[in-house]
């Protein structure tokens, strides 16, 4: 984000000496205020730090995971009865039912679960942004058709359709991202349409039109920048839903196929050993809860920080 149009106004070549004047209030730039407001919320900041750690974990998985996540350690990874072993010096968080290192699987799982969550949410918001702003700018028949289409997709029984799609197209990473996106773009589309319809009537857009600026340029230069903060918040708040959907699919065995370590799939696999070693379910469960709660907190924090109508308390 740039520092809004104060800067651009100052650069207008109306007065050749304008640049010599110091800015009147330096610290009121929108982005600086937003950053300040975000930092002020300690909880959101703490959640961000946890999320950064989780993301680093996903990115650096090959370097920090102690073992290969799919390698089965039949000798010391399983006890005499063939059951998973608990946390010990070798396997810090124990092993799963096939003698695979839990810690390594959790770390690699971040790639799948977090990756799908972020990708699906981003794609949903991007498609929603495109559909919403086209509908909002075009108005008339195109708007009506697009929004009725959104209504129809919204009244799909979501989980049935997800099950249907996955069953028809065979589970894989991209199918998972695709089905979550397919059902996730409608809410952002409505959100952005409302926003664009409101923006379209504002005076500064009228002014741009009067100056003879072509429509595509108005959209790119004057409408889209206003939607960016909204899009960031929408992505952040959409990730928990996408992670839930991915975890649910993996739990049903319809997500990323095993032996790939997805958190939901790990829970599902762990239920077989649940009674004797609840850690099998609790560890992947805890990491899902941590991720989702952090995304909710960061999303809410960003929403408050990026809202230009909110001033510092």
């Amino acid at each position: 984000m740039d520092d809004s149009h104060e800067v651009r106004l100052a650069q207008l070549p109306i007065d050749p000496h304008a640049a010599a004047f110091p800015p009147i209030v330096q610290s009121t730039s929108w982005s600086r205020l937003a950053f300040q407001r975000f930092v002020d919320q300690h909880v959101a900041l703490a959640a961000t730090i946890i999320l950064v750690i989780l993301c680093l974990m996903a990115v650096l998985a090959p370097f920090i995971a102690p073992y290969d996540p799919v390698q089965q350690f039949r000798k010391d990874g399983l006890d005499a009865a063939g059951l998973p072993v608990g946390p010990n010096a070798h396997y810090w968080l124990g092993t799963d039912g096939q003698g695979r290192d839990m810690l390594s699987r959790l770390i690699w799982g971040a790639r799948i679960s977090l990756g799908i969550g972020i990708a699906a949410s981003s794609f949903s918001v991007l498609i929603g942004l495109l559909m919403g702003s086209v509908a909002g700018m075009a108005g008339g028949a195109l708007d009506a058709v697009l929004m009725r289409f959104v209504d129809i997709v919204m009244s799909l029984p979501g989980f049935f359709v997800i099950l249907l799609l996955v069953a028809l197209f065979r589970p894989s990473l991209w199918i998972t991202i695709m089905v979550i996106t397919l059902l996730g773009w409608t809410y952002p589309a409505r959100l952005f349409r409302t926003e664009v319809v409101a923006l379209r009537e504002r005076d500064f857009i009228l002014a741009a039109r009067c100056l003879g600026i072509p429509e595509p340029q108005i959209v790119m230069r004057h409408i889209l920048p206003h939607l960016v903060p909204l899009a960031i918040v929408a992505i952040g708040l959409g990730v928990p839903g996408a992670i839930f959907a991915e975890a649910g699919l993996s739990f049903l065995g319809l997500g990323v196929p095993p032996p790939a370590p997805a958190w939901g799939g790990m829970i599902q696999f762990g239920t077989s050993y649940y009674r004797s070693s609840p850690l099998q379910v609790l560890l992947p469960g805890a990491i899902i809860v941590t991720t989702v709660v952090c995304f909710n907190l960061v999303g809410a924090g960003l929403r408050d920080a990026l809202d230009p109508t909110m001033r510092r308390r």
């Binding site: 009244s155 979501g158 049935f160 996955v166 899902i288």
Partner: protein
């Protein structure tokens, strides 16, 4: 009013038609159904002659649009076809399954409201107290737990350790407790937070100040003047949620092996039982359409400021 109802019901019809068409298209886009239906022996590709016979028997050899029109013709007579797997009419199968899901969904909704309303009221009236903060933290944690994980946690404590309730299944009231709680707890806490936010914003409204300046007790102000208006959006949300619950508790039904529509659809997708899938999506879209209509009607009935048909 009548015009509004007719318009909305027609629109539900159009929606359901489009949904059916999309599902139909998807099934055919994903591959030859006859190929999937033909019996196979241990991973060998099915015999082409058998596939051809299957195709003919199910009418899959005709052009897609003819198949769709025929499907719609049967649909208009209330016939959703026969389940490939159970060899029973889909309508009959789905009605029983939807009934048991409706029982669970109804219980979940009642429990969620019973939990959510008092908790939300309490949090709003004791704003910024220890209790309020506890409720806020508790709810943001609960809302971060996927329902199937919450279900597994409840199973661990109440079925494994305390042995109060059965692991899963269907039959007695004990079977319903854990599935209900695992969805109702987060949903109820969601309502509590929603109600709290509404209450807090309404308590600053002018008419509340008027009520206070008339000398009404704070309790009277909150219960008689603030609560009804704060409840309206919660009621709307709950009635929309109910429709989604009827189609959205697949995971809970799987965890508890509860024989509802979700478990049925999951099995049908595993067995490529196309009529059952089509029928469930059709029923589900119908339910969601009428659920949303009900939500609008309910909101208009409760709040005279809302005008229908806008």
């Amino acid at each position: 009013m009548l015009a509004f109802l007719i318009q909305r019901i027609l629109w539900i019809g159009v929606t359901v038609l489009c949904v059916s068409l999309m599902t139909f298209g998807l099934i055919f886009a994903s591959g030859d159904p006859a190929q999937m239906l033909a019996p196979t022996r241990q991973g060998q590709p099915p015999d082409p002659a058998v596939v051809a016979r299957v195709r003919e028997a199910y009418g899959l050899d005709q052009p897609i649009y003819i198949q769709f029109v025929r499907y719609l013709g049967h649909l208009a007579q209330g016939d959703l076809g026969y389940s490939y797997y159970f060899r029973r009419p889909v309508t009959e199968l789905l009605v029983t399954k939807f009934a048991s899901t409706a029982l669970l969904a109804g219980l979940i909704m009642v429990t969620a409201i019973v939990i959510g309303l008092p908790v939300g009221m309490l949090a709003a009236l004791q704003r910024d107290s220890v209790l309020d903060h506890g409720i806020l933290i508790g709810s943001s944690l609960l809302l971060g737990v996927p329902t199937f994980l919450l279900a597994l946690l409840l199973i661990y404590f109440f079925a494994f350790q305390l042995k109060w309730f059965p692991l899963g299944g269907y039959g007695t009231w004990q079977h319903l407790v854990l599935p209900t709680l695992s969805v109702a707890l987060p949903t109820g806490m969601g309502y509590a937070i929603f109600l709290r936010t509404n209450m807090l914003s309404i308590l600053t409204a002018d008419y509340i100040r008027t009520a206070r300046s008339k000398g009404l007790s704070e309790q009277m102000v909150a219960m008689r003047h603030a609560l009804p208006n704060a409840l309206l959006p919660v009621v709307t949300l709950a009635s929309i949620d109910l429709a989604y619950l009827l189609t959205g508790i697949v995971l809970i039904e799987t965890v508890f092996q509860y024989p509802g529509i979700g478990l049925q659809v999951w099995q049908a997708t595993q067995q490529k039982d196309i009529p059952v899938i089509m029928g469930s999506v059709f029923f589900g879209a119908l339910l969601i359409g009428f659920g949303n209509l009900l939500a609008d009607l309910l909101a208009a009935w409760l709040d005279p400021r809302i005008r229908l048909g806008a």
